[in-house]
Amino acid sequence: MANTEKEVEVQTNEGLVHDLDSFNEMMARVKEAQKIFSTYTQEQVDKIFKAAAIAANQARIPLAKMAVEETGMGVAEDKVIKNHYASEYIYNKYKDMKTCGTIEYDSAFGLRKVAEPIGLIGAVIPTTNPTSTAIFKTLICLKTRNGIIISPHPRAKKSTIAAAKIVLDAAVKAGAPEGIIGWIDVPSLELTNELMRNSDTILATGGPGMVKAAYSSGKPALGVGAGNTPVIIDSTADIRVAVNSIIHSKTFDNGMICASEQSVTVMSDIYDEVKKEFAYRGCYFLNEEELEKVRKTIIINGALNAKIVGQKAHTIAALAGVEVPESTKILIGEVESVDISEEFAHEKLSPVLAMYKAETFDEALAKAAQLVADGGYGHTSSLYIHPAQAEKIQKHYEAMKTCRILINTPSSHGGIGDLYNFALNPSLTLGCGSWGGNSVSENVGVKHLLNIKQVAERRENMLWFRAPEKVYFKKGCMPVALDELGTVMGKKKAFIVTDSFLYKNGYVKPIEDKLDSMGIQHTCFYNVQPDPTLASALEGADAMRLFEPDVIIALGGGSAMDAGKIMWVLYEHPEADFMDMAMRFMDIRKRIYTFPTMGEKAYFVAIPTSSGTGSEVTPFAVITDEKTSIKYPLADYQLLPNMAIIDADNMMNQPKGLTSASGIDALTHALEAYASIMATEYTDGLALQAMKSIFEYLPSAYENGANDPIAREKMATASTMAGMAFANAFLGVCHSMAHKLGAFHHIPHGIANALLITEVMRFNAEPVPAKMGTFSQYPYPHTLERYCECAHFLGICGKDDNETLELFIAKIEELKERCGVKKTIADYGVKEEDFLATLDEMVENAFDDQCTGANPRYPLFEEIKAMFLKAYYGK
């Protein structure tokens, strides 16, 4: 004793902290010091951390002796290990960890993590491990630039404070601010509560009462609780390893570690052998009479008898009036009940162990689970088993409501980490998760004492340009392009999808001739309806399954190509669900549903016969369920055709109405893709070129049809380019609304777009929209400028942007008029009462349309309604 005091002299901190005033004074000093400490650099902190760890380590023996002297509990030699561990292992673990300022920066994602101290840590230190816990907590606070105030256990205050003082002195000597570590000299409930109330975070280690007080204080707490570690020894275990590990762990510091084993459940087939080994290694099995005596000694009125905590087996036996050899390591009681009414089922914090017998592994698990429930929720459990018994190990970890599950490991040493497993973090404060009423479930460490700021820089989404693998064009190119099916790809069976008009009028003939000449077998499905239905797609897919094509050729307008795409899906993936595939997404790359992989059975060739939809190069398809009249718009790059053949020869004889409707449709594609919040430079060039061709050639294509093959060809190319633009940049609210005019009032799609586009342009061009679209690369409402870029490219120039827009709109109106598009929805024969009756539903459906997401202005219901009304009445 005298020797100890000479080496580690307890000093007071400018007068003892014993009442509220002296406490507040001390706390103010710690807070002041912490303010300074919070500005320290990583280098300064690491130097202090190292110096403090070295000092604590050097004092490990005197501190251990002092703790045993003061508390009268435990084993000095074991406490040396704990002190050594708390300094060396903690230092080693965290020496290189960044805890100051920027600790991580990901330049690709633009995310910086900045570590800041929490401030004042209130540390409650238990009597069972006073010096090691004090060393541990002060060290991790120094590493994190936190101030710490220690509330020691009254029965261990001297040694606790001595440990804190050693760490403080070394830290200050290494440059830490004076007073960064404080403590209560004369601990009391009042001061402990005061500390908890004033801390920024409480680091509580102790019994359930203390932990509960910490969590109830209203301050964030890292508290841990009692354990009641149950051990199972499976029939496959190495008995010698199991028994000796348990003895080693259970006797460590006389069983005072909270992770220490409290009971052993042994499988019946090895029970005798295990018992024999325990006895051989110096454990004492209590007979019935002795068992009863010990029961009455260890638990009194349902609570653990404080007198036995940390005592030797012989001492406890003597207290109970049982005679055992002096060298007895553990008192073992063979008991049956795992109920809390059985004294041996409790946590005993001493070398007293319960032993159960189980007939089956499941019975052993049930016992262990009950013992955890008896008072060790969330803490630790352990299993001795042959390592190859993966199934049982899994059963065990699934059954245990504990945050540490140790396999073939002494639990006292194993639970604190880094001794028997080197990935489990070293710690003297073991989180018990929500089961134990804790906020953490892992071993508490440095990371729990930091506030991490995340500095997120604005980044733009990854974007893409995707087009069919092969896009072939030029008048007369079809046979040349189809040639590849035979020569390059060696296809054997082609399935042609088209509509009956094209079929009857001989449009399929050149394809069939070409296929025949290459010896490719073929069949044709020509029952595609204008709005392709699920029924006809299913019919086509059935025909495909019978025919087993390795190439599908869709010839026609949007309907035939869309139907072809859907048949392709159904043919390759009969299990696919349309509801899932049609689910709305905010971001096509983050959608919940993963589209099935296409192209495993057949190659898809799209050959348009009208110049408008662009479906030959888009990842979209619309299908109507004729039973429910629900339209399923599908969008996924898996639906992108593999080859597109744009041969104006197939488009020469489009009727005038189709030429104009699909031509304006293509213009709308280009305009919406250009204004889209997802527009990119890749799509811009395509959209602009498409617009230019449409303005130049649509009137002649409309008026002269096949007599102006150049105009036809220009329109064909324009339509495909516009298709590529919106295949990657998507569309906008004009299409959303046009879809509904089609669905509710059967206005042809191109016409519907024509009726709405200029309204939508005025709407989008507004520099002060009610709400703008949300997309990282869309910085501010700039659609007016974007429309003006288009206008300038087309050679339209007003004196300012607003005039340019008006001139541009006038030019679009003029184009519409030249192509025979009427002025209003009313002009197309939609009755006013029908229109108004469906208006609200159309508004809501248009709002929810997949196209709305890319619109530069986020439309409100009322705004969509207003546009519909204007388009209806023309004013």
């Binding site: 633009g110 733009e460 990854m462 392009a481 380019m721």
Partner: protein, 332 residues
């Protein structure tokens, strides 16, 4: 018949690489990646991030970095030999045009050890006259290109150049085209002024060669036009400020890839060189004076990139002057 062919997936935007490469695991379930890069890029750690991402996805990888400038036939053969031992299911080229060209050819030889590059070069130097088929690729490994300079455009082209002694072999076939392209300007931000200049000159040559080509289409015109607009708008700033101008870097990265797409679909093989850049403006002036249709095309290009003069002639002159300015700046 004409065509537009682009790699199956072209991903872009600053910081896009980690997001794009995720697909190697999530979509393609790749197991083994063979990275091709240059010795200098490897030594300076330019592939480290790619390797880290592959590690995170548990894709085994190795790096072949014995490439510098234009690869030689021997190096390509050595790379293919290494690939045959490693058996990758994806080849990732991280670098400039030499590296990307080498990776294209390494894949051919990896998949077709019997193929003779010299022979292929003599038969497949013009993409528009193919009497027979180039050996099919993408059977064993897909090709990912990740450019580190903002100019080559080789990441999206079906061309490859390789040195054979003192001569240069040129190959052109869509079988050489990568399937997966990642244009992430973070990979290009560290270019020196000289690199920026020489890359930009290459892009300019690509743009004008594509735009002037007899095979130019409206598709390629759109890409060429936008690429030129980016270069005119952002090259001076990026050239001047380098890594402190991430926006300029990104615009140049896109310009380079777009120029590459235009070039890939209009020309027979990669014939560009720096000297072409230096005479570019002169050539433009000559041909615009000699040919009215060229003059008209330049006029619309000038307007498309936002140049305008008091009359058409001045507008065309502005375009030529601008290009002259840019090439002069870059060749300093």
């Amino acid at each position: 018949m004409l065509w537009l062919r682009v790699p199956e997936k072209v991903y872009f935007k600053k910081g896009s690489m980690p997001v794009a490469l995720e697909e190697l695991k999530t979509v393609y379930n790749k197991k083994k990646a063979f990275i091709v890069t240059s010795a200098s890029a490897y030594k300076s750690g330019k592939t480290a991030y790619t390797e880290k991402l592959l590690d995170e996805m548990k894709i085994q990888h190795t790096v072949f970095f014995d490439i510098c400038c234009t690869a030689s036939l021997e190096k390509v053969q050595a790379g293919a030999g290494a690939a045959q031992l490693f058996e990758p299911d994806v080849i990732i080229a991280v670098g400039g045009s030499g590296v990307m060209d080498a990776a294209k050819l390494i894949r051919v030889l990896y998949e077709h050890p019997e193929a003779d590059i010299r022979e292929l070069a003599s038969r497949f130097s013009d993409i528009r006259s193919r009497a027979e088929l180039f050996p099919a690729t993408n059977k064993k490994a897909s090709l990912v290109t990740i450019p580190t300079s903002s100019g080559t455009g080789e990441e999206v082209t079906p061309y490859a150049c390789v040195a054979d002694g003192d001569s240069l072999l040129r190959l052109a076939d869509y079988e050489l085209m990568p399937e997966f392209v990642v244009v992430d300007s973070d990979n290009m931000i560290a270019q020196s002024r000289e690199q920026i200049g020489s890359a930009a000159m290459k892009a300019l040559v690509h743009i004008m060669t594509a735009y002037d080509s007899e095979s130019a289409t409206e598709y390629t015109d759109g890409f060429a036009m936008k690429a030129l607009e980016n270069i005119i708008g952002y090259l001076p700033g990026f050239y001047e400020n380098g890594s402190t101008d991430p926006q300029g870097c990104e615009k140049l990265a896109e310009a380079s890839a777009m120029a590459g797409i235009a070039y890939a679909n209009t020309c027979s093989a990669d014939k560009c060189c720096k000297t072409a850049a230096l005479t570019l403006a002169d050539e433009m002036l000559k041909s615009s004076e000699a040919d009215d249709s060229v003059y008209a095309r330049y006029l619309s290009l000038a307007r498309a990139v936002g140049l305008s003069g008091s009359d058409d002639k001045e507008t065309v002159n502005k375009l030529i002057t601008k290009i002259n300015e840019l090439t002069a700046m870059c060749s300093k």
